[in-house]
Amino acid sequence: MNQRIGVYLCRCGANIGGVIDVSAVAEYVRSLDGVAIVRENGFMCSESGQELLVNDIKDHGLDRVVVAACSPHLHEETFRMAAVRAGLNPFLVVVCNVREQIAWIADSGQAASVRAQSQVAATVARVGYQREIVPERVPVNPATLVVGGGIAGIEAALRIASAGYGVYLVEQGPSLGGHMAQLDTTFPALECGACILTPRMSAVAHHPGITLLTMSEVEAVAGGIGNFTVRVRTNPRSVSPELCNGCGICEEKCPKRVVDTGHNAGLGNRKAIHFPFAQAVPFVPVLERSDCLYFSTGKCRLCEKFCPTGAIDLKEKEVFREIGVGQIIIATGYSLFNAARISQYGYGRFADVFSALEMERMLSSIGPTGGKVVRRDGITQPKRVAIIHCVGSRDRNYHEYCSKVCCMYSLKFARQIMEKTGAEVFNFYIDIRTPGKGCEEFYHQLQEKGGYFIRGRVAMVMEAAFTVTEEGHLIVQVEDTMIGRTRRIPVDMVILSPAMEPRGDAVQLATKFGLSCDVNGFLSEAHAKVSPVATMNPGVLIAGCCQGPKDIAETVAQAGAAAGQVLATIARGEVVIDPVRATIDADHCCGCRICNDLCPCQAITYDGERKISKIITLLCCGCGTCVAACPSGVIDMGQFTGDQVVAEIEGLLRTRSGDTTHGI
């Protein structure tokens, strides 16, 4: 191959230059076949670095470019656009990552330099096989799917719909609202949670552009940015929203009463058929079949008998829909850490140990106690209350991360309990973390009002009294690290502030939508700083606590950001299809069909007439499964073709003398 390859070695200040002997790499690279020019530069991404590239391509007639710098995720686009300015096809530029993958992780400068030489040689060998590509452009379906009907999903759906574009909002439960609907007040202003949430829920319900699918889950996703096909399963509610007039007779007549582990977090009861909660949207009851007498014994049907509009449908089956959308926002929220896992704190063992969500419901004026703070007996007001922070957070046995909101909601509980009962409240904390507007002030106010703060991780909560004063109380045993002593604090009520954790199905969800999870199991964003709502799967965005613990304000901000990105893409009207897609060589495919059922994106079809397999480019996600599987070697992956990969390996194995160690 008679090529003119330009190689640019970026020092990235001391990031690369301080570790790798860039000049030695340059000297080595000069000896490689086809290399016309090698340059070292302080910051290739700077304007002057780019200009150098543009001028060299023009002045030296370069037809291939290798930039050895940082991760291609950061500046591949920068360098490719520079090539375009010089009239070179962008796909003839390849970025070799010598920073994150070499300089930052190397044990020694020597090792890093040797490795950088091999890596750059590999990229030089590969770049010779790069082909000019003009990526396909496809129009964007302006409809958007929002998964999750909590505050994040509601906010995102409203923003997009208000711009005049259609939204499908899919919610697993019977009503919109999510966790926020369970909160009595929000910190730090102690503003009524329902009062700020319900207007938005109502707006969703009445927005003509939003199709609300409750009781629904996404089954499968195919396609890519611009054109996704989503299969949605809607589980039976057993009550027709069209016929139901919301009279509530069914709930009244239903003879089966069960503990409401949903909205009321186990604190109150509900019927087998019930309204999710007072402001539920849609305001239609749901029949929980696992609780229903008819479904367990075959008898009852009282709800059906008494319903004045014939809305009860006990035979309703699940419904499947195929939805076409251009983009997807995932806003599936979080789960609360099960405090019973820390058995020594006694949740589930001692009646008067409560979880934070139970406390939220207890504080709610429309909750099971009507807003009264009482012990589990439902009558007695506590005189002394312990609030244990960081239950499952900042704990290597469970979650090492900080759940971010627990400090503030714990302080909120403390304040409300003190105001409502006059009880003494003890906060057991490791550190109090109250960033955010008005939060530190809230903390100070509480201190001034007489809230107690004991710094130390609680060892255990017990009923075993050691002294007469402890008799009949729960005793919180803790090392008070401020005074360096073990203390035993007798209280009447303990509130645990559990961690926010990823939903149990986060991994399956990620797999379904082509995303990945971070070490803690939350969905991974494309970049923590500069791309917090996009993901590595273009067209799929994330918002709210599915990405990590955050408060309502941050969640709403993320939802807005995601909606903004969606609208930007809709406004552009078309998307460029990533050329990393598989193609089948129709002239050489033998039609063995081995690839046919292996594709995770269902992108492969069989042409019975020509007896060959075909790939629907739009559906291909570029995973490479079929490439590995094709026994005839006729499937190639754009940007990862067989000759490119083999050349890269040969380049990698090249010794300093220029021989290849493996004659492939």
Binding site: D585, C590, G591, C592, R593, I594, Y606, A629, P631, G633
Partner: protein
């Protein structure tokens, strides 16, 4: 003057010579067209006679058999010099074929197995043939046994390749037609007498896109008629083998063992097939999770008897892995 034709049989079974006769009455036309100057199987002729010919004196040479010893290599070089067109004819010359499987062992191992440990060989003095032996009558010489088997094109430049073990009669006819038909010759290095896709294109069996859950050997199960053997769990190399034979084996309920070599664009037939099986094998519904699936697949693959003989019967000598395939 008729164009001159030669055919030589190096390390091989002789089936390739016979395959030339599979063109039936066309052999008469062949004899009319060519003057057969050298072909130990058909006409009398010695190496010395060949050496006397001028360089390039032979117009077309079909060389079959692999390069096993010095004699094979000498003949390959000699015929290369004397021939205008040298064709690697048949699987042995093209890619090493069955003799190539001997690359899994060293020459010393072979000698030990054949001359010392063979139960039917009486060799009390443990004599191993050498290239030079002094006997009472004088000095005897034998060709030196090479360290490994090579294909013809690993020794000399080859103009065309004809796959098959042996090449099919209909394809042999087409190959000959290429040279006598008067059309311009295909570019040097071309593969003649075969299809451009994998074998499945010629196979009449139906593929239902089922994934095999285990492997069967031929004696373990009677295959369902008319249904793809691979999806029934028989390791059929058809999809990783070049078409051209007409899928004779699968038509007769036998798996393709890959004698036509890899299809175009495939470097390593065995590795390609193993990768395909790894992708298509269904570890079963009860295999939850990556670890369990991997374990199950490991079990299934380690249960394959003679992987080298299954996936590399023909292509080992020329495969990317060479002798590095485990037995």
């Amino acid at each position: 003057m008729k164009p001159k034709f030669a055919m030589y049989w190096a390390s091989g079974c002789g089936g390739c010579e016979i395959s030339l006769l599979e063109i039936h009455d066309q052999i008469l036309r062949f004899a009319e067209v060519f003057e057969i100057v050298f072909c130990p199987c058909l006409v009398d002729g010695k190496k010395e006679d060949l050496a006397k010919l001028g360089d390039g004196a032979i117009d077309l040479t079909f060389f079959n058999g692999a390069i096993r010893n010095q004699e094979d290599e000498d003949m390959a070089r000699l015929l290369r010099t004397k021939s205008r067109i040298l064709v690697a004819y048949g699987s042995c010359a093209m890619e090493g074929c069955v003799p190539g499987l001997s690359n899994l062992s060293t020459a010393a191992d072979h000698f030990e197995a054949v001359y010392l440990k063979n139960h039917t060989t009486v060799n009390p003095e443990a004599v191993i043939p050498g290239s030079r032996s002094e006997v009472a009558e004088g000095i005897l010489s034998l060709p030196v046994f090479a360290a490994s088997v090579r294909s013809l094109d690993q020794v000399v430049a080859v103009d065309y390749l004809v796959p098959g073990c042996p090449p099919e009669g209909v394809q042999v006819e087409k190959v000959i037609e290429t040279f006598v038909g008067g059309s311009p010759l295909p570019p040097s290095g071309s593969l003649l007498g075969a299809g451009e896709r994998a074998l499945c294109e010629e196979c009449p069996r139906v593929r239902n896109v089922r994934r095999p859950t285990r492997f069967y050997r031929a004696h373990q199960q009677i295959p369902e008629e008319g249904v793809c053997l691979l999806e029934q769990g028989f390791i059929c190399l058809g999809p990783a083998t070049r078409s051209g034979c007409g899928a004779r084996c699968p038509r007769n309920n036998m798996v393709c063992i890959g004698c036509y070599g890899p299809p175009p664009g495939v470097d390593d037939q065995g590795a390609q097939m193993i990768a395909a099986l790894g992708s298509m094998l269904d570890p079963g519904k009860d295999c939850d999770g990556e670890v369990e699936r991997t374990q199950r697949l490991d079990e299934l693959f380690s249960g394959i008897v003679d992987p080298a003989g299954t996936f590399y019967t023909f292509s080992l000598a020329k495969s990317m892995l060479g002798g590095k395939v485990g037995r």
